[in-house]
Amino acid sequence: MAKHETPLLDQLESGPWPSFVSDIKQEAATRAKNAKGLDYQMPSDVCDDLLGILELSYKDGTTHWKHGGIVGVFGYGGGIIGRYCDKPKDFPGVAAFHTVRVAQPGGKYYTTAFLNQLMDIWDLRGSGLTNMHGSTGDIILLGTTTPQLEEIFYQLTHEMGQDLGGSGSNLRTPADCIGSSRCEYACFDTQELCYFLTMTYQDELHRPAFPYKFKFKFDGCPNGCVCSIARSDLSFIGTWKDQIQVNQAEVKAYIDGKTVDNGGAFKGRDWGKFDIQKEVIDLCPTGCMALVKGELKINDKECTRCMHCINVMPKALKPGKDKGVSILCGAKAPIVDGAQMGTLIRPFISIDQTLNKQLSDFEDEDEWMEYLAEKYEAITEFIELVWDYWMEEGKNRERLGELMMRQGLQKFLEKVEVEPMAVHVQHPRTNPYIFWKEDEVEGGWGRDIEDYRKAHSR
């Protein structure tokens, strides 16, 4: 029988969706049974008490978790978030219920062995409950006690080679799409850049460095599967500078119905014969495509990289060959000023596609890192300019996007040493005044007063 009556939570199980309540109950039953005979380091009724305190919160209409804590692991200022409940006598199993953020692998590639090892640690030393994955992308281990933190950290780092993720006013765990490991659209090696920046900025990731949180995310192409444009302070999106590669024979195969459109994604239903005019050309947001005498023509200058035509006809169209990344700055979720999407600041940073050596090509990882530091120098230079500006000017708990809004795009561009360009302009100016700076005016502000007096008496 359940330790606590939970009629309000039980109702959450009645809907058509998978229920976290059912999951917690399942884990509570597993721990009560303890078929593996584990020497649980958390109270075995932790999940029952979690359900109990959640039921009470629904009943009272208020949270029973206190705010934050001082706990962590030695040398790190992130990755652990102290959580305590304010009813420890009634719910001793969750008196301390700390969260552990573990860095997720690049592209979220897991092996079964890795997941089993992770759960062996967590079943023993924590509640057994996880959140795969948190909003930033980490593996979230929910609920453990203070004495277990160093033990978990040791096992993660020494036995699994896995590090903690970021939390607090740190660089947060960078997240990427699977990139060129499995996706033909990827315009850069997302996992390589993500790993390189993670290793380069270890200090920023593990110890507080900033006015508030800071996130990197990497999308290999403008499809944006990681949605970096909305979820990260610095969003890296793969793109190309030259023309979309067109294979006219394959275009014809699509038109003739010999190749299934959209990679077969919609073939579960009869949508009728593929119509390139209706399904591709007319849907191009900039109208930059046309079918001329059976050949697909693209005015690439007008292309805004919406990816629709490439997604519909992947065998016929491919991203261009001159590949690189766009960097967008300042996206954030709504707390102050509402939600913001990233602003395009660096339209194109070229990534040399011939620099494609892997770790196995080097003596050790340090050598590989040196190679990558050179490859991605333009990116790290830009990142550090952004950080210098934000660290100097950002207010406490002010995200980069809020600082950009407060001080204006012009100031931001100056600070990150980017010349204003047409892509930075969202709409025609609404302010009729032009404020010149001294260095923009011939002769500056200074004048020779004697010279002036010759023509102007007092």
């Binding site: 804590g69 001082i70 200022g77 992130g78 102290g82 939390s167 740190n170 507080p208 949180k213």
Partner: protein, 82 residues
């Protein structure tokens, strides 16, 4: 001139002790104001080293980090973490 670490640590402890009656936790940016001539990165390194040495400690809500003298404030005692 490079910031002398021992001197900087002294300045930080003095400033935090001075404010201890009204406040036990500080944002990282508050520490920058103790050294207006220094780059934030330099101050950040000193503050993080002081945590490693056990002079200061972090407090985290999960989204924000604050820093204070180790053992100050109510939480350590209240949660049995002291």
């Amino acid at each position: 001139m490079a910031l002398d670490t021992a001197e900087a640590q002294k300045v930080i402890v003095e400033n935090l002790e001075k404010k201890a009656k009204s406040k036990s936790k500080f944002y990282l940016k508050d520490f920058y104001s103790f050294f207006p001539e220094e780059k934030p990165r330099t101050v950040k390194k000193i503050v993080n080293d002081m945590v490693a040495q056990g002079i200061l400690e972090y407090w985290s809500s999960g989204s924000t980090t604050m820093i204070g003298l180790k053992g100050t404030g109510k939480q350590a005692g209240a949660e049995g973490e002291d």
